[in-house]
């Protein structure tokens, strides 16, 4: 028996980064907003205080901050010829849970995408010709440009206090920044974090080879900062417990440290935690959402009517809820038609492990986003003509952590336990460095999301099914940029070096990144996109779907800056266009 509640102006599904950004914009505009969050409320001093935030066993090994697969999971297969099986332990990606979402446990690497990334198909076709792209590659333009998003990137970075060095301010090259980045209107709000020894060595080597190294933009702050909402963040202490962890020092940008303190003071904002939305409800025309149905912690079902629905869950669950609610045509890989579940993509990471004699990198002095990088092999910053692939990634010395349980690199051939392992771990802990690449992952006709025919969740709903594998283009890209990274590392004269370019097949059991993308992509054509350039559903005009689900393909960067810039962009359109004249903001 579902009990109907009084209507509200807007209901937000999921209170992570995008939900908090939307809630801030809409409550500021005077709307009554109810945010419904599946997980618990999370507060810095209660849930990850400095007194035990650095507990690798609790947070990393036992996944304290993440969704429990028993609550919701998905099935996986590499291709349509296989039978998908449920993921029962998280591996390659870590679905977030609770207020703050992925913003609690990210590394805070805060990258903008390149201007060409947003017009990927037109750009690559123009430069290399349509035949240069694999026939089954379904990349497309986003429907927004970098210039459209620039003020919103700026807004997010000034919300977070991002620490970095601009490479391009209004077209003028800035020494020490990323020379390939799109023009920004102003520098980062705070200067770059201090660089440890390893990144400094890498930068020297890269510079000597003619590359342009620059500090990675970081949401772990170099100094205290008060954002445009008046919320203050503290300086990072370089403890190296960022990704997988909440920050006990208020120094990592998250909804908790930037937005929620203001939101909870607004009388027109309400959050309902441990409440899971099971469906977006539509009226008879199926063109208008009437609200959502959710289940509370007691298993009781409630209907929350709302004038606006904002689907702000994690990428996979955005797609899941759209499929369940029957919004938009499900994607069919046989015919290539339909949009919900189409263009699922990921991220292609790789590494070079270098073992040195007589070096001490002090790996425990780290933060999720310090490091020196080069961008010479990202996107289309280099000529792909001779290489037979498209895409690329940033690379560098990114010193995210030196944690005791899992960050104990040993050379290949070392036993994985026992006295010999202990000896090797002790020998190599200080003198080994892992250099990384962070590569793009383009979309393909056979990589998609749909509902599993066999497995259901605890509420009896079909699980989301992931069908995905790496394609030859991505593996070639990874091999190429990993080799280029190794060339730089070789300059540092390690004793030995191990190159680990990404190899197929894709597996969900080994951690890579949580950057799952696509499935409800944005675009200019309702035949190939689920949402328009303002993240508004083509089918249901009072439904907006922010998040990485809108990425038509993934670029060679961490996605959060772009996810949040898109959320600000959509929020701006909602407040300044939609509320004045409700209806489709783009005519199909």
């Amino acid at each position: 028996m579902t009990q109907k509640l009084p209507a509200t102006d807007a209901v937000i599904i999921g209170l992570g980064w995008t939900g908090s950004i939307m809630a801030e914009a809409l409550t500021r505009a005077g709307l009554n907003v109810v945010a419904i969050e599946r997980g618990p409320w999370r507060d810095t001093a209660t849930d990850f205080p400095t007194t035990y935030a650095q507990d690798e066993l609790r947070y990393h090994i036992r996944h304290d901050l993440f969704l429990r697969p028993a609550q919701e999971t998905m099935t996986f297969r590499n291709n349509a010829g296989q039978t998908a099986l449920p993921i029962r332990t998280w591996g390659s990606f870590m679905p977030p849970n609770g207020v703050g979402g992925g913003g609690v446990h990210w590394n805070a690497e805060t990258w903008r995408f390149l201007p060409s990334d947003f017009q990927l198909r037109s750009h690559l076709t123009q430069r290399y010709g349509a035949k240069f792209l694999p026939a089954d590659m379904t990349i497309q333009d986003w429907g927004v440009t970098y210039d459209d998003l620039e003020p919103h990137y700026d807004k997010f970075e000034y919300l977070c206090g991002t620490s970095g060095k601009a490479g391009n301010i209004k077209g003028a090259n800035q020494e020490g920044g990323n020379p390939y980045e799109g023009a920004r209107t102003r520098d980062y709000p705070t200067p770059p974090q201090k660089q440890p020894y390893g990144p400094s060595l890498f930068a020297d080597a890269a510079r000597s080879m003619g590359y342009k190294p620059f500090p990675q933009p970081s949401g772990n702050l170099s100094q205290a900062y008060t954002n445009w909402l008046g919320v203050t963040l503290g300086p990072c202490t370089y403890c190296g417990f960022c990704e997988w962890f909440g920050c006990g020092n208020y120094s990592k940008a998250s909804p908790q440290t930037t937005l929620l303190p203001v939101l909870v003071r607004r009388p027109n904002f309400e959050a309902r935690t441990r409440c899971e939305v099971v469906q977006i409800n539509l009226d008879k025309s199926r063109k208008r959402a009437t609200g959502v149905t959710y289940v509370d912690v007691n298993g009781k079902s409630w209907e929350q009517p709302a004038g606006l629905v904002l689907l702000c869950a994690f990428q996979l669950f955005n797609v899941h809820l759209l499929l369940h609610s029957g919004i938009g045509a499900p994607y069919d890989p046989q015919t290539g038609t339909g949009v919900i579940g189409r263009n699922y993509s990921y991220q292609v990471t790789s590494s070079v492990n270098a073992f040195f004699d007589n070096q001490n990198f002090n790996p425990f002095i780290s933060s999720g986003a310090i490091g020196m990088c080069i961008d010479d092999y990202n996107g289309d910053n280099f000529d792909h003509g001779p290489h037979g692939f498209v895409g690329g990634g940033y690379m560098g010395a990114v010193q995210t952590n030196g944690r005791p349980i899992l960050t104990t690199p040993t050379p290949k051939g070392t036993p994985s336990w026992g006295a010999a392992w202990k000896k090797a771990a002790a020998e190599h802990y200080l003198s080994t460095y892992q250099f990384v690449t962070h590569g793009s992952c383009y979309s393909y006709r056979d990589a998609y999301l749909d509902l599993d025919p066999t497995y259901t969740d605890r509420l009896g709903r079909k699980l989301l099914r992931i069908t995905f594998d790496f394609h030859e283009n991505e593996l070639k890209m990874s091999q190429y940029i990993t080799d280029r990274l190794a060339d730089i590392v070789q300059k540092l004269q390690p004793r030995t070096m191990e190159k680990n370019p990404r190899k197929g097949p894709y597996t969900t059991t080994i951690y890579q990144t949580t950057h799952t993308c696509g499935g409800a992509v944005m675009g200019s054509d309702p035949k190939t996109s689920a949402v328009n350039r303002y993240l508004q559903s083509w089918d249901v005009s009072n439904l907006f779907v922010p998040g990485a689900s809108a990425f038509p393909q993934n670029a060679g960067y961490n996605p959060t800056d772009t996810v949040c810039a898109l959320a600000f962009w959509a929020a701006d359109a909602l407040v300044n266009q939609y509320l004045k004249s409700p209806g489709p903001l783009v005519q199909a």
Binding site: D43, T44, A45, T46, P49, T50, T51, A224, T226, L229, G230, V231, T232, L233, G234, P235, T237, C239, G248, N249, Y250, P261, V262, R265
Partner: protein, 425 residues
């Protein structure tokens, strides 16, 4: 009332008039204004709202989340629990049936409707300083509220404290009735500050130590006092433990936002900042600051515990491991986020109750519109032994130029046993 009693009261009034000429003059002026008084004037209601904010009346008379001033909130006293009465204009259960004189008498003299004695949890020993005009403005505001039918049995005290007549003796001992008299030779600003602090603001209710019967230790006015498991700091011009180290602007900033260069409000002061001082005019906050900073400091200068002391050395090591990440190596903290240890009056307070509590149990800083962050200190009680907690507190009280008596493991042990009052942040 018998004719004889009326006569006697009139005679007393005449005697009071003769004794208190300036107050009588003020009273006469306000009574003239009262001729046209019906409590409906916009200006008066607004002034009453402001005074209710200054006095933070809602802190006791409103249950959070319930109707404003409908009463019923429990007030823990050393003598037992009182429930704050309903101040809405409901005639049966509120103060709707009270005359103006009833109300003025309750606020200024602690005698309610029908002459019933109030307990000094109602801070009439301070409100007695308020002018009749201000008290009537307060009534005008309360009269404009929605009447709420909510019968509150205020007196929940155990015997013998439940006998209200016992307040006759208490008043004789500790209550000095009388309106505020400006001090000639001090500026208008100073006098305005004095009026707000000593009268409606009733700062001494928390910040002045109480004797065993709950009366003010007037010789140590505003030099700090224990309250609900916290220690309200010294508000005099004491450079180390009081406000002497803060500029007037820094005091204003603290009262306005809950934060300044060194301090962050927490505990019962959070509510005072959020509901009262952050809503006052800058002029009034400045007046309060000017007056408090001019209060003479007690004559005693603590000598710092030597850095070579074993507790200091242990404390220094714990500080690096546990505290430094937020409060910084130089004890400077982060403005609006983490309080400074260096030069912080609370850290150097003569009584370490607040420090012990915050370290053991954690706390949340106040959030205001001007400084909305509201960061929290996590609890360390589960992580540090009594001796370790004492060592690190001794260390922060005696480093970076700070000086205060050492904290003992026994002090920490007592703090661990302390019951955390319900509803107190």
């Amino acid at each position: 009332m018998s004719r004889r009693r009326t006569m006697r009261r009139a005679a007393t009034a005449v005697a009071l008039l003769l004794l208190c000429a300036p107050a009588a003059y003020a009273a006469e002026r306000s009574q003239k204004a009262e001729i046209a008084h019906d409590g409906q004037e916009f200006d008066e209601v607004e002034r009453g709202l402001y005074l209710a904010t200054v006095g933070d009346c809602a802190a006791c008379h409103t249950v959070p989340g319930e109707k404003p001033y409908a009463g019923g909130r429990a007030i823990d006293t050393p003598f037992g629990t009182l429930l704050a009465p309903n101040l809405t204009p409901d005639r049966a259960t509120g103060i709707g049936a009270w005359s103006d004189d009833d109300f003025v008498s309750a606020v200024q003299d602690g005698r309610g409707h029908g002459g019933q004695r109030l307990y000094p949890a109602m801070p009439y020993p301070y409100f007695t300083k308020m002018s009749r005009a201000d008290v009537l403005a307060l009534r005008a505001y309360l009269g404009a509220l929605e009447p709420v039918h909510n019968a509150v049995r205020a007196n929940q005290l155990p015997f013998p404290f439940d006998i209200r007549a016992s307040m006759i003796g208490w008043n004789w001992l500790f209550f000095t009735p009388g309106r505020f008299v400006p001090v000639i030779g001090k500026s208008d600003e100073w006098n305005r500050g004095a009026y707000l602090v000593e009268g409606p603001g009733h700062c001494g209710a928390c910040h002045t130590e109480k004797n065993f019967l709950g009366g003010d230790e007037t010789s140590r006015a505003l030099q700090g006092g224990a309250i609900q498991g916290w220690y309200s700091p010294n508000l005099t011009g004491d450079p180390r433990r009081g406000l002497g180290g803060w500029s007037v602007d820094e005091v204003v900033e603290y009262l306005k936002t809950g934060h300044n260069r060194t301090g962050a409000a927490t505990g019962p002061m959070s509510e005072v900042i959020a509901d009262s001082t952050s809503h006052l005019t800058d002029e009034d906050l400045k007046a309060i600051a000017v007056y408090l900073k001019d209060r003479p400091a007690p004559q005693s200068a603590p000598t710092p515990v030597a850095a070579s002391d074993p507790a200091m050395r242990v404390g220094a090591a714990i500080y690096v491991d546990e505290c430094q990440a937020c409060h910084r190596a130089a004890g400077t903290g982060v403005a609006n986020l983490f309080p400074a240890m260096k030069d912080n009056p609370v850290v150097q307070s003569a009584d370490p109750t607040t420090l012990i509590r915050v370290l053991l149990h954690g706390t949340q800083n106040v959030a205001t519109d001007a400084a909305p962050t509201g960061a929290s200190m996590p609890a360390f009680g589960w992580k540090l032994t009594d001796a370790q907690a004492a060592a690190v507190l001794t260390y922060i009280r005696n480093s970076w130029g700070n000086a205060a008596p050492a904290v003992s493991a026994g002090d920490v042990g007592n703090g661990r046993q302390q019951r955390l009052s319900e509803g107190v942040p």
